[in-house]
Amino acid sequence: MNIVVCLKQVPDTESQIKIAPDGRSIVTDNIKWVMNPYDEYAVEEGLRLKEKFGGEVTIIGVGPKRVTESIRTALAMGADRGILVDDPAVADTDPLSTARVLKAVINDLDSDIILCGKQGVDGDYGLVGSSLAELLSIPQISVVVKLEVSADGSTVRAHREVEGGIFVIESPLPVLITAQKGLNEPRYASLPGIMKAKKKPLDVKTLADLGLDPSEVGADAAKIKIMQITPPGQRKPGKVVEGETPQEKAANLARLLHEEAKVI
């Protein structure tokens, strides 16, 4: 079974986000870059499928050189090889163009299952998975918390999380799955895994290597442009609810919620 996992590198969720002087990007100086948390579930699920059905897990990333660290992490977890598309032209592009780049890589791979995180926790678009499935003309099942592949490897049955419930959806392969928290518990890379990962193939490609032109997928091709990034609105300072005892504090809080905020 050929398994592809699309991986993004994002600022760690504990990061403070500071806006750069240009007002359209963020300050990246002190950012700790990590594998997108939802992609960890995608990598883990890919490895579990490989353990059951055999085959190969290929990790694909798009971004600058530092993304190789996150791809190496996935290789240390047990993936077989990595491909990074590193080209200055795709630095400021949009999700649809990113999907076009991924498609160009995946075209050569004859993949059975493509796994993505349900969204990157940076731009929060959540669009690459469904855009990629559309470009590849294969079905998508998004926000998946449980995945079963039939014994003959021909169909998947996925539990898709919706508001207040679960839809169980069946699809033939090839299929694109986007991973939600709860799909699995991602493993940690072992020390031998980390050593082995250093010898696993990690190809770096440019757009030209993929036969793509920056005018098709670069910043100029982006259909969405960020005009401005602003901090969240400052909240007005809150009140400390007074009281000598927990009962007094509770009574004052109930009164404030009822009379002042009018939310109860």
Binding site: R160, V168, M227, P231, P232, G238, L253, V263
Partner: protein, 327 residues
């Protein structure tokens, strides 16, 4: 020239969801600025009777795609119908709900049409007949203002509980018409095997008006019973911090924060939650926030409108009694 604003209404089991009325209301405000019309699109089975109510919130017209194969959402069928309708009528703007369904559909639709798409927006405006969208990034640690580069339709999803509802106007005229489309289901690959509803039929966190949330300070899964009691009393949904979920006390679907759900209720009561940055990002747009925590230096107090420094195991039961007196 592309004209008009389309709202893709969302129904589940034949009932329209509140976000559909919120988006029709917002669509009306935008359309009035552009001097254009609002059309709601409703897909479902035996759904025509639900169409007219969308007019009360501001839709001039409702196009109904009624077919048994559209009873429940599938990516294949819904995107097929919507792309056909869009190509036939060329709307300028399409708004969908930023729900699991809307997010699944919008990306695929935009890719099929080859146009831009802004996900999970919290504000819209119009400049020279172009849509400007404001959307949280990094789960709300910052906001991006985005524009669409001279491509139509301009597609965006709007977050539930954010856009103000218009006062329903029973006297507004609305035209309800049937949609023309082909549905070739031999091309459809996915099928729904089963729909499992969560017990209790609780309102989902992303749609809840009120949330009572517990963190590590709850000390164990058994203690959430006091939060559930408070939640039942005020009609709230129970949420949890990441540490509580990672400890296995609550299911991951309860998690509020950057790798959980981003919520915007009227009232968010955080109990025993210190306020890690990824949690604050996920609940920062709540209208009123209450924090109950023993540690007066906990970061959650920076985000709280009302902060109670105290033991939640004393404060919450007392609060339940006090609210009972008011209600």
């Amino acid at each position: 020239m592309a004209q008009g604003i389309w709202i893709i209404a969302e129904q589940r089991e034949g009932e329209l969801r509140k976000i559909s009325f919120e988006l029709v209301s917002e669509g009306r405000r935008l359309a009035d600025k552009m001097g254009q019309s609002v059309t709601a699109i409703l897909l479902g089975s035996h759904i025509k009777g639900k169409a007219a109510v969308l007019g009360k919130y501001g839709a001039d017209k409702v196009i109904v795609a009624d077919d048994e194969r559209l009873a429940t959402y599938t990516t294949d069928a819904y995107v097929s119908v919507l792309s056909q309708l869009t190509r036939a009528s060329e709307p300028a703007i399409i708004l969908l709900s930023a729900t699991v369904q809307g997010k699944d559909m919008s990306g695929r639709l935009a890719a099929r049409l080859g146009v831009g798409m802004a996900q999970d927006c919290v504000a819209f405006s119009i400049e020279n007949s172009n849509l400007i969208a404001r959307r949280p990034i990094y789960a709300g640690k910052a906001y991006a203002t985005v524009t669409f580069e001279e491509s139509w339709p301009q597609i965006a999803t709007g977050r539930p509980n954010v856009f103000e509802l218009n006062e329903p106007d029973d006297s507004r005229p609305v035209e309800v018409i049937g949609a023309e489309f082909n549905l070739d289901d031999s091309q459809f690959k996915t099928k729904i095997i089963e729909s499992i509803q969560e017990a209790g039929g609780k309102v989902d966190l992303t749609e809840a008006e009120r949330i009572v949330s517990g963190g590590r300070g709850m000390k164990g899964p058994e203690n959430y019973v006091i939060l559930e009691e408070l939640a039942d009393l005020i009609g709230a949904t129970v949420g949890a911090s990441r540490s509580a979920v990672d400890a296995g006390w609550r299911p991951h679907s309860d998690q509020v924060g950057q790798t959980g759900k981003v919520v915007s209720p009227n009232l968010y009561i955080a109990c025993g939650i210190s306020g890690a940055i990824q949690h604050l990002a996920g609940m920062g747009t709540s209208k009123y926030t209450v924090a109950v925590n023993k540690d007066p230096d906990a970061p959650i107090f920076q985000k709280a409108d009302y902060g109670v420094v105290g033991d939640l195991f004393e404060v919450v039961p007392a609060l339940i009694e006090e609210i009972k007196k008011i209600l």
